[in-house]
């Protein structure tokens, strides 16, 4: 685990030094590049005149203290930029997780219950559609249909531009609005959240429902299901209490795994919905070749991914006592 973290940092650092584009251009502008004095001053200012190993060690040293350098684009510490934008992304990802896991389990159970019948094929197609749709296109399309044509849901962003966000306690607009007792803002924040969460959630529904379906089929073939039916348990009861609970064990891993898909999707979904989170920050950073920011995001994303995998493993052992952590 620490080795992997160091690997992540090293790769991120190596990548940002591999670049052909000179980061100096984005600091001082193309015109000043002919002026050797300004170039030298800027190099010294940003530590670019030091040899590579020294820069690497300094970067790692700073990183341990939570310093990721200054973004070339926003001229702010990358760590602070990321902290500012984290709640927006978390709110979106959690909401999408609820949609994706809820929808995925529902589709999976329906598909397993009505195996090889119309409902099964329908559920599988809906799930497959979700994982095949490019979110940056489905987001665009749904936004157009629900916001422009039907007018049911608001446009992009977390709130209408003229509204002030609720007082920041958690940074989640929905939760903060509730805490402040401001139901109008709560309703607006929620309606702004629905569409991006559905777009993102739909994208992970596919892998979750596929796994739920196959592990439900495994479980439904077990003798204890037959025994429960023989004892007179009702259909839904057998399905939920006996089958689903056991089928959830393998599903847990995939929920952790789907986090990777959520991050991928969040990057693109946030761009479409002008969502001020880490995803859109990443895209802006990549577009303007803002290396400190790209490095920061890559490292944070990689570590978050590692952490989810660890948590998933632990949860796995918790749910299934047969699993021993080696």
């Amino acid at each position: 685990m620490p080795l992997l973290l160091l690997g992540i940092v090293t790769i991120a650092f190596a990548l940002s030094n591999l670049t052909k584009g000179d980061p100096l251009i984005s600091i001082i502008g193309e015109r000043q590049m002919d002026n050797p004095e300004i170039v030298a001053a800027a190099k010294a200012r940003w530590g670019l005149d030091r040899p590579l190993p020294e820069r690497y060690l300094r970067y790692v040293g700073n990183l341990i203290q939570g310093d990721m350098g200054i973004s070339l684009r926003t001229k702010q510490p990358v760590a602070r930029d990321l902290m500012d934008r984290l709640p927006a992304t978390l709110e979106l990802v959690i909401a999408a997780m609820v949609v994706g896991v809820g929808g995925g389990i529902l589709l999976g159970v329906v598909a397993a219950r009505y195996r090889n019948r119309a409902a099964d094929h329908g559920a599988r197609f809906v799930a497959l559609l979700g994982s095949s749709l490019p979110v940056f296109w489905s987001g665009l399309l749904l936004l157009f249909v629900f916001s422009v044509v039907l007018g049911w849901l608001p446009g992009p962003g977390r709130l209408d531009a003229r509204l002030t966000p609720p007082p920041g306690v958690t940074g989640f607009y929905t939760v903060d609005a509730l805490l402040a007792g401001d139901f109008t803002t709560f309703r607006l924040a929620l309606t702004h959240l629905i569409l991006p969460a559905c777009v993102l959630g739909w994208a992970v529904m596919g892998i979750i429902s596929r796994l739920v379906r196959s592990s439900m089929l495994d479980v439904l073939a077990q003798d204890y299901i037959l025994a429960a039916r023989a004892k007179g348990a009702s259909g839904p009861r057998v399905l939920v209490n006996h089958a689903l609970r056991n089928a959830m064990i393998p599903t847990l891993t995939i929920i952790g795994f789907s986090f990777a898909y959520l991050i991928t999707g969040a990057v693109l979904t946030e761009t479409i919905f002008s969502w001020p989170g880490i995803g859109s920050y990443t895209v802006d950073a990549a577009r303007s070749l803002d290396y400190p920011a790209i490095m920061g995001v890559t490292i944070v994303g990689g570590s978050a991914f590692l952490l989810t995998n660890l948590v998933t493993d632990l949860a796995y052992a918790l749910v299934d006592p047969r699993v021993k952590l080696g």
């Binding site: 992997l4 790769i11 990548l15 940002s16 490019p134 296109w137 890559t298 995998n309």
Partner: protein
């Protein structure tokens, strides 16, 4: 009758997937012969809705959206093919070496796999493309970097199980060298999961390439590339038809390869079909 039996054996998903993929291959190869317009030239007024002259309307410059969408396959499909070919062959080779040799070689290769897999694919792909500079070629390099480890892992697991088979022992006893045992007696048995994964990956790579282009790191304007075209569609948000063609194109290709991969898995591994 024989043809019918064959079709039944292939199954419906594989037939649908095959048709979709075949359609796009035919388009890629023959579009120059029958395309009514040039994908780069302005052929009408800008941002016109679909009509009988321009079936999917015109884009922000007045180019035909349908023609550009069809031409787009010439970027997406070859790139996906090359990326998947390079990463599956390269990854599988490294995985096979790791599994067969074991020891130090194994742990070095597998650590590299672990580190690469610990990045969410899009983040690493974005970082690599940003480092190399925007462009479809660099995006392809980035996609190889993010997609080879899965193949290495798959192949290693396969080699580890096949290595213990009796026929391998027999080959070693008969005096076959390491290279010969690996290439002649182990590898031929290991390909089917790699093949299934590669087929599914083709769709995912088309999607990833389009995502990178959408962000602005892949194909650059005026290339008729699907992700790039959707980005233009996002600018002209109220003209829904600008992004419609490329979106449907991506969807159909990804669905096609998913169906094909699913069918292929059932065909190669009859147990998983049950």
């Amino acid at each position: 009758m024989k043809a019918l039996a064959l079709l039944r054996r292939l199954g419906l998903p594989m037939i649908i997937g095959g048709f979709i993929v075949l359609f796009w291959i035919v388009v890629a190869l023959t579009i120059d012969l029958w395309s009514p317009y040039d994908p780069f030239s302005i052929v009408g007024r800008r941002l016109r809705p679909p009509s009988d002259v321009h079936w999917l309307g015109t884009d922000g410059l007045g180019r035909d959206v349908l023609v550009r969408t069809l031409y787009g396959v010439r970027h997406s499909l070859p790139i996906a093919l090359v990326v998947v070919l390079v990463s599956s062959l390269g990854g599988a080779m490294l995985g096979a070496i790791a599994g067969y040799l074991g020891g130090k070689t194994d742990s070095v290769i597998m650590r590299l796999v672990d580190i690469t897999l610990s990045f969410p694919a899009i983040l690493l792909a974005m970082a690599v493309t940003a480092a190399l500079g925007p462009g479809l070629g660099n995006a392809a390099v980035a996609m190889v970097v993010v997609s080879w480890p899965v193949y290495a892992r798959l192949m290693r697991a396969q080699v580890l199980t096949m290595r213990e088979r009796e026929h391998v022992e027999a080959a070693v006893a008969a005096g076959a060298g390491r290279v010969r045992v690996l290439t002649r007696h182990i590898l031929p048995l290991c390909w089917s999961p790699v093949l299934v994964n590669a087929t599914m990956d083709l769709g995912q790579i088309v999607l990833l390439a389009a995502s990178l282009s959408f962000i602005g790191l892949g194909a650059l304007p005026p290339t008729p590339e699907w992700g790039q075209m959707i980005a233009e569609g996002a600018v002209n948000f109220y003209q829904w038809w600008v992004a419609l063609g490329p979106g449907l194109a991506i969807l159909s290709v990804v669905l096609g390869f998913n169906f094909l991969g699913d069918g292929l898995r059932d065909l190669l591994d009859p147990r998983s079909a049950q």
